[in-house]
Homo-oligomer: 132 residues x 2
């Protein structure tokens, strides 16, 4: 465990539901990969292991990013914003794929002339990613 | 107004409170600048004007970024994530300052050995920014 664990964990202004948004950014490309959610436990385990952990709101469980897909996020730096209620992770994205659709980034749609257009290629078929 | 305005606005999965998180990233440096919140009106005005508008949860009002500080965000691209509930804006940050503390980015604290350390300089005194 880290020294002063409670202090840095309690510095974060957790919302009423115990969560804050966490943005993952690729350390090499600078691409914003995903926004997920963390609770105290997710942040503590992220720091302890050096791998991104999130809280899955849909499954109501702690989730180590890549536990099924292998697309682990190795954390280089962790940042906290001015209001102390948003986390930013600079990560090395295993496999170069962060999105469950098999794309590099979850932000693969761009607004063009009033329509959301898919601009990014699928790098790996999700059925292959989640085969097991 | 955009054609099909309702379609692309309704494509976004607004939360129960009518909001989604919106991440602003600097188009030049790639730095993640801030996370704020948008409702339908904020997103519609952002697209209409080409300048980032957000919903202030603390003031319960629509807010044109930079309306007081002059630190307007000119929007280059707008992206939507795989779950259609997070917006990513690539922006040109007027003045090179996004944070109300006078720093480039709101993410100016980094976790180092169990402490949140301020790593970024204040570029302009907030009292000068919000003089008027």
């Amino acid at each position: 465990m880290y020294p002063h664990a409670m202090e840095w964990l309690e510095k974060v202004k957790w919302a009423g539901n115990g969560l804050v948004p966490a943005i993952a950014q690729d350390a090499r490309s600078g691409r914003v990969l995903t926004l997920a959610w963390m609770n105290r436990d997710a942040l503590a385990r992220t720091v302890e292991t050096g791998e991104a952990h999130y809280w899955s709101r849909s499954r109501s469980k702690l989730w180590r990013k890549g536990e099924q897909s292998g697309h682990v996020q190795k954390v280089r730096t962790l940042r906290l914003d001015c209001d102390e209620d948003v986390i930013l992770l600079e990560v090395e994205q295993e496999g170069g794929i962060a999105c469950h659709t098999g794309r590099e980034s979850c932000f693969f749609r761009r607004l063009e002339n009033g329509e959301w257009v898919e601009t990014d290629p699928v790098l790996k078929n999700p059925q292959e990613i989640y085969r097991t």
